[in-house]
Amino acid sequence: MPLDMLAEVPTETLLTLFANGDQASAQALTARLTPIVMGHAFRLLGDRTEAEDVTQEAMMRLWKIAGEWRQGEAKVTTWLYRVVANLATDRLRRRKRNGPALDDIPEVEDMSPGPSEFTIERERQDALQRALSSLPERQREAVILRHLEEMQNPEIAAVMEISTEAVESLVARGKRALKVALAGKRKELGYGDE
């Protein structure tokens, strides 16, 4: 089936087609899901190389489970967010044992084409990423899912396998901690004293 015809096909259906050997579905699923998985992995880990490894591993797990996927039982993205969080948690724990502390995570590399395109927006992105990295893991995950992935609390609860009340609590505490962490960036990021 041509790739452009698969744009409107639900992800769960593509997964079944993939399991039956359809190569166009493999392409469509890769194009649709890899950026989402990579974005989430990077926000959780704050490290591009590690995020790429986690993305590849999470997608590999998806390919392996495709043949057993039960239609209608769970959203593929919900399942993927959970897998990414588990893989990221493993890496963060390993990092705590062996590598630098979270506070020592280096600045996010500049991926813009040149210095002329360096903007305040980019500064805000980096500052938020560093602030997120300073949060406890569960608060960070809840805030990312709620405010960056823009998911509703019941779906976040499904991903994190906790109650919606627990989600609300994690998000509230996470946002409070972010406000403190970002306080020093007010002036340099264009906020006045008003």
Binding site: F18, G21, Q23, A26, Q27, L29, T30, A31, T34, P35, V37, M38, G39, F42, R43, R48, A51, E52, T55, Q56, M59, M60, W63, K64, G67, M111, E121, R122, R124, Q125, A127, L128, Q129, A131, H147, L148, E150, K175, R176, L178, K179, V180, L182, A183, R186, Y191
Partner: protein
């Protein structure tokens, strides 16, 4: 409000907005690796019986039940069954000769009848 924190939700929201506008972080190299994994896994787990959409459902079903080799076996078994059904008496006669030493089924009945008195039935019913 504490002086050492951002004082409004909308200020924090600007950070979230900026982060959501972040460009796609998945490089071409990563996309190629992920797709490569997918295609390799598909090849490695390709099913033995695979219905090709070009040849249709019936052709797939034909392949699914074993194709021509299976059909040849089925035909042989059917012909054997037909032969057994059509010519049972020949086989039965041979079995009678082997077992009882007589060359006809009728003689077996005659010999069998001498050990019983059928006259009773003849007389009563005759």
């Amino acid at each position: 409000m504490e002086m050492n924190e951002i004082d409004r939700d909308d200020e924090l929201q600007r950070f979230f907005d900026a982060a959501r506008r972040q460009p796609n972080l998945a490089s071409d190299a990563l996309m190629e690796r992920v797709l490569g994994d997918a295609l390799s896994y598909q090849t490695a787990t390709e099913k033995v019986v695979k219905v090709d959409s070009k040849v249709g459902f019936l052709a797939g079903l034909w392949a699914g039940i074993g194709g021509w080799p299976a059909a040849a076996g089925l035909a042989t078994a059917s012909l054997a069954g037909l032969w057994i059904g059509v010519s049972p008496s020949l086989g039965l006669a041979d079995a009678v000769i082997t077992t009882f030493g007589s060359n006809t089924a009728e003689s077996y009945i005659e010999e069998f009848s001498t050990s019983f008195d059928f006259a009773f039935y003849d007389g009563e019913l005759g």
